[in-house]
Symmetry: C2
Subunit: 180 residues, 2 copies
DNA sequence: ACCTGAACACCGTTCAAGT
DNA sequence: ACCTGAACACCGTTCAAGT
């Protein structure tokens, strides 16, 4: 047995850190801890991650890919609800993705993963609104802010019903309801 | 001279930490560092803050009070722009206030300061919409999400013009434009 | 290439002690 | 009450060394 890590130490570290993330929160993430849990010396992770932030960036990238898959499954107006649902189901992951702990400039793969998810939101607006970019920015802001504020505990409610009501209270002025 | 700290060590620590916050970011905040800069032993801060999180909570509370003042100055529809402006002018403070680093449950003064600011946003909707709470939640989500996404660098633009265009793209369906 | 142990400079936090 | 120094258990990161 004695889990050897051949080429997959990187994967093992991500698995260990990902587990710890949702259970203990971002602050509990450490390179030394991940190494310990993967059964290697505290120094081995540096072969795969330049520093702690690189580990966080990799975990965040996983999150963006997962979010993209969830948005893919939803269509049109349900995408907003899917976005909020993702945040509520993976609170720590969501915070990691959007908490400003990672400098996007230094991690191009992360920026790519993020804007890919944004593109999907934007696509939902293409073709039927005048200024799709602006409408998409507003829609993203809405769902993103709602997610964050719920996670931070600033609303009394956090059920699906509440989310739908808030999202339903908004119309996009540049949208089709104007030319209709 | 030799700055004695009589009763104001707390204030001195907050001043030192606040300075460091905007310059170096949240991760650079430490009780030991604040003590060093205030000229006391690394242990003195514990007389005024139970732990590191209590220091962060106090800094965040300052931020909520400041945000409240800015919202006070603005009226009605300008409050949204004022909110985003506050975030862009105090990025690290804003992240501290909303980054999920502080457990609101353990710091009631912080929760109070936060919901006081929210009340101001909500007041802007009272009396002229059917469901003021829902509309206010949507409006807060919109400006909050926009602020965060701009800070995280997810939009190419971040000028006032862009902010106005995004905020202007939204109508609140429960608002007066329906019954009008 | 991949992994190791030793070392350095930082933390938060606790404790016993001083005034 | 307020402050101190010593101590403990953690970090991230670097370095010289092993296979």
């Amino acid at each position: 047995m004695s889990t050897y890590h051949h080429g997959d130490l990187r994967a093992a570290l991500l698995r260990a850190a990902g587990k710890r993330l949702e259970k203990q929160g971002i602050a509990a993430l450490s390179l030394r801890g991940a190494a310990r849990r993967a059964g290697v010396s505290h120094n081995a992770p540096y072969r795969h991650f330049a520093d702690r932030e690189a580990l966080l960036a990799a975990l965040a990238a996983e999150g963006f890919h997962l979010l993209g898959q969830e948005l893919d499954k939803a269509s049109g107006r349900e995408m907003g609800e899917a976005y909020v649902r993702f945040a509520l189901q993976h609170p720590q992951r969501f915070r990691l993705m959007f908490g400003g702990r990672i400098a996007l400039d230094k991690h191009p793969q992360l920026r790519a993963a993020a804007s890919s998810a944004f593109d999907q939101l934007q696509a939902a607006f293409s073709g039927y609104v005048l200024d799709a970019r602006t409408a998409a920015a507003a829609a993203w802001s809405l769902v993103h802010g709602l997610s964050h504020l719920i996670l931070d505990g600033h609303f009394e409610q956090r059920d699906e019903e509440f989310v739908k009501r808030v999202l339903g209270a908004v119309r996009f002025a540049v949208g089709p309801q104007r030319s209709a």
